[in-house]
Amino acid sequence: MASFQLNINNKKVTVDVAPDTPLLWVLRDELNLVGTKYGCGVAQCGACTVLINDRAVRSCTLPVSAVRDSKVVTIEGLSENGDHPVQQAWEEVDVPQCGYCQGGQILSAVALLKQKPKPTDEDIDAAMTNICRCGTYVRIRKAIHLASEKGGNG
């Protein structure tokens, strides 16, 4: 066990965990930030996506010891009132079905819009590799374009 100081959602937190613990389980089990989801554990599905220094990262394979002083943002910390332009677009397009993957999808979209505020369909194809088992992809694409129109890079 070792002590790690992390910057999560703009707050300094200290956790005492095994150094190889994936960030996902630190968030879920130690910090009770359960909006970050487990789906595959092998960085395939993206349900565990968080933002690290504004980039989308799959937290299920990232050891907590590698996080250091990076700025971590989880779905709970994306906006104060759930009104980030990407969240608004998700509501407006009524994207979710089961909803389980959507936190990860939203954060992937936020990272994309930071890089490319006006993404093309090809940009969306390349960036949005998260699995949605319910198949809400048509709406995800639509919501990203809408968020972009709203000035979605937050």
């Binding site: 779905i75 709970e76 509501e91 959507q102 699995i131 319910c134 048509v138």
Partner: protein
């Protein structure tokens, strides 16, 4: 439950109860889990209500408080199919309230109050269409009666408008909140009148998913998010193959892992209880497990070889026989013969298998994902050897179902581990556990033969099918049954120790691909347009008068609509279309896929779907279901298969078990519903079966290549 009864003269059929807010919240709190959020919301919404003010609760489905806040219960489990939104919409419509002002909450599991609370067979809206509207209408009638009594006017002079009762002659109005006490004393009407569909303000409109805000902000909505005082994060080691059982285990290394607190065995499962998931994970990896063979270790290659033999054999008894298909084939000028194959796939819902269980002193508290709460409770009670009323079960939102959670193994396993370990646990399966521990969509193989006579007419159809643990892989009643005078269906079952079960649109999801592709093959052979050929078959069904299970005008309606929507018969250069139409769960769906194939690479540009599901309840949710079903069906046809090697799954996680990603999804899916006020029919599943054939028929149009085995993979 203590209630304040304020109905001294109420006749015996009075079922309404008036309860104080204080009691209401207390009772609600006792029901635990999923209820809490809803009632916290309610409490927040009406902080100024005095504890002794009267709430109007004419039945278990709705509550109106003195401020007019309406709380509606969503009785069935939400697995992504949208019933937490759609069912309360039915209540709200007939209650006649402003949707924006209602609070929706998940009802607790209570079979006495809510009847069948399941999610399966595309049945929730279908089965509650009458009863949910009636629950709303009863309340509306009682509110009107209360207002009429207040004003001392005839009931007939009063009507409702979004949360108000209005006295027509005088224009006086009272909001529902002002009537809660009086309405509670009104007799429950035996007969109610429903709204005329043309007056609908909620049903048929686009209503966003009621949990959207909670979903997009990462709230703890799912069973896997359960956190309780003293709870252990629990992972399990399960047999590595079907046909193997646990012989012995050694947990000495496991118990050295910091955070691991306990290791217990139940049946073939070794459970590792720890203070966090990662410790349980490492502890599980450190177990030394010895397994022994218990039954044959089967492989997919064995199943395929057995299927190939079975489909050459006539069944002892046909599943359906009209005329004489064998004779028609023998006398045919030409016989078309094709074999279609569909693999095993896993449900793999995004939320992995999990359950919270706490067994203590002969009672058990459960909270977790299940499509069948009633069965889960019964199975857990039986396994624990306690009465059913000692088992409580909360209903969280679920991260997908697709049929996986029609089995209750997860609840039973968690409950038994909790009992043996004497601790509250949150049991979770890893994705690898889930891939190896599913009840899979059975594989199947179909051998079709069609007889063509000298007049270029289809005179006979004979399918011999085989399924893994599936005795009816070719559904005997399916179209084109009834449209061909010589028609025979033979089914063979191949028994296996690999467990199989219902997977979204069970059996339909496989047979639709095979028969809708084969119909396309016949149409091309006869040099007929695939749409015109289907319509011609429907005409024949009308004239032949054989037994059919489908409605000819409705089937025709969706076929013509999809053809019209897609401008069938006209192609954009370089793009090609394929057609498919299928009837399941009482719903008719026709789909057209537009594709291009360049250097062996498939692109699906657009899909059109025409759907007749009776009255649409939530237009946005309904479209979402059909879009999702199309992507689900297409993704599995394109990429997904599960292979067994000596009882073990080969594709152990998502690196090799391939799901559709956004880049392959059609950029556009256009869904149109046939306008109808018939009672709603199924919608969670019927959009899925037709799509594989629509795309494969389009691929044939583009390349001349017939796809007869799924998945068709990356290279066309």
């Amino acid at each position: 439950m203590k209630t304040l009864t304020k109905q001294p003269t109420a006749p015996k059929q009075t079922g309404a109860s008036a309860i104080s807010r204080r009691n209401f919240l207390r009772v609600s709190a006792l029901t635990g889990g999923g209820m809490m959020l809803g009632f916290e919301m309610l409490a927040k919404a009406i902080p100024e209500v005095a504890a002794d003010e009267v709430l109007f609760t004419p039945n278990a489905y709705l509550v109106i408080d003195p401020k007019g806040i309406v709380t509606l219960m969503a009785p069935n489990p939400e697995i992504g199919q949208g019933v937490k939104t759609a069912l309360p919409m039915l209540l709200a419509e007939e209650l006649d309230v402003d949707w924006k002002k209602v609070v929706v909450t998940q009802a607790p599991f209570d079979a006495v109050k809510y009847g069948n609370q399941s999610a399966g067979g595309s049945g929730a809206v279908r089965s509650r269409w009458e009863s949910a509207r009636k629950a709303g209408a009863i309340a509306r009638h009682m509110l009107v009666a209360a207002a009429a009594q207040t004003w001392n006017v005839p009931v007939e002079e009063c009507y409702t408008e979004t949360g108000f009762v209005i006295h027509k002659p005088s224009g006086r109005k009272l909001n529902y909140g002002e009537l809660t006490e009086k309405a509670s004393a009104m007799p429950v009407p035996e007969k109610v009148t429903f709204k005329d569909p043309k007056d609908y303000k909620i049903i048929g409109k686009r209503i966003p998913n009621v949990d959207n805000k909670a979903i997009i902000t990462g709230k703890p909505l799912y069973g896997i998010d359960t956190r309780r005082e003293g709870m252990f994060f629990t992972l399990v080691a399960r047999p590595p193959a079907f046909g193997k059982k646990l012989k012995s285990y050694d947990d000495s290394e496991t118990l050295k892992v910091p955070g691991v607190k306990k290791v217990v065995r139940w049946d073939n499962v070794v459970a590792v209880l720890a203070t966090n998931t990662w410790a349980a994970w490492k502890g599980r990896d450190a177990l030394k497990l010895v397994y022994e063979d218990d039954s044959p270790l089967e492989s997919t290659a064995d199943h395929e070889a057995a299927f190939k033999k079975l489909i050459q054999h006539k069944a002892d008894k046909p599943a359906r026989e009209d005329g004489n298909a064998e004779q028609a084939l023998a006398g045919a000028k030409k016989v078309i013969e094709s074999v279609y194959e569909v693999p095993v796939v896993s449900h793999a819902p995004m939320e992995p298998i999990n359950f919270f269980a706490h067994y203590k002193d002969g009672s058990c508290e459960l909270y977790g994902p299940t499509q069948v709460p009633g069965r889960a409770r019964a199975d857990v009670a039986k396994a624990l050897g306690i009465p059913e009323d000692k088992v409580t079960l909360g209903l969280p939102r679920q991260g997908g179902g697709f049929g996986r959670k029609l089995r209750t193994d997860n609840a039973v396993e968690a409950a038994m581990i909790s009992k043996i370990a004497e601790a509250p646990i949150q049991m979770m399966w890893t994705r690898e556990d889930d891939m190896q521990g599913d009840f899979y969509r059975p594989s199947s193989m179909f051998r079709y033969r069609a007889a063509i006579d000298e007049n270029n007419e289809l005179t006979g159809w004979y399918v011999i099918a085989a399924g893994l643990n599936n005795g009816r892989p070719a559904i005997a009643e399916n179209f084109p049954a009834g449209s061909i005078s010589n028609f025979r269906v033979d089914n063979h079952n191949l028994s296996s120790n690999i467990p199989t079960g219902p997977w979204r649109a069970p059996t339909h999801n496989s047979v639709a691909f095979a028969e809708q592709c084969f119909i396309d093959e016949i149409a091309h052979e006869l040099k007929k347009d695939p749409v015109a050929f289907r319509l011609e078959l429907l005409e024949k069904a009308k004239s032949l008068g054989l037994k059919i299970n489908y409605n000819i005008p409705k089937f025709r309606g969706v076929i013509e609509k999809a053809a019209e929507m897609s401008n069938w018969g006209k192609n954009t250069p370089g793009r090609f279309k394929g057609f498919s139409a299928y009837f399941s769960f009482s719903t008719y769906v026709a789909e057209v896929a537009e594709v291009s194939v360049v250097n062996g690479k498939l692109k699906v540009h657009k899909v059109w779907a025409a759907v007749d599901c009776g009255q649409v309840v939530n237009l946005s949710g309904a479209e979402n279901q059909v879009e999702g079903a199309i992507i689900d069906g297409l993704g599995h046809a394109w990429h997904t298969k599960l292979t067994f090697d000596k009882g073990a799954v080969v594709e152990k996680n998502f690196q090799t078990y391939k799901f559709m990603r956004l880049q392959d999804a059609p950029p556009e899916i256009e869904v149109k519903f046939i306008e109808s006020h018939d009672s709603p029919t199924g919608l969670g599943e019927p959009g899925l079966p037709p799509i594989a054939a629509a795309v494969c028929n389009a691929i044939f149009a583009a390349t001349g290549k017939r796809i007869r085995k799924l998945p068709f993979g990356e290279e066309i």
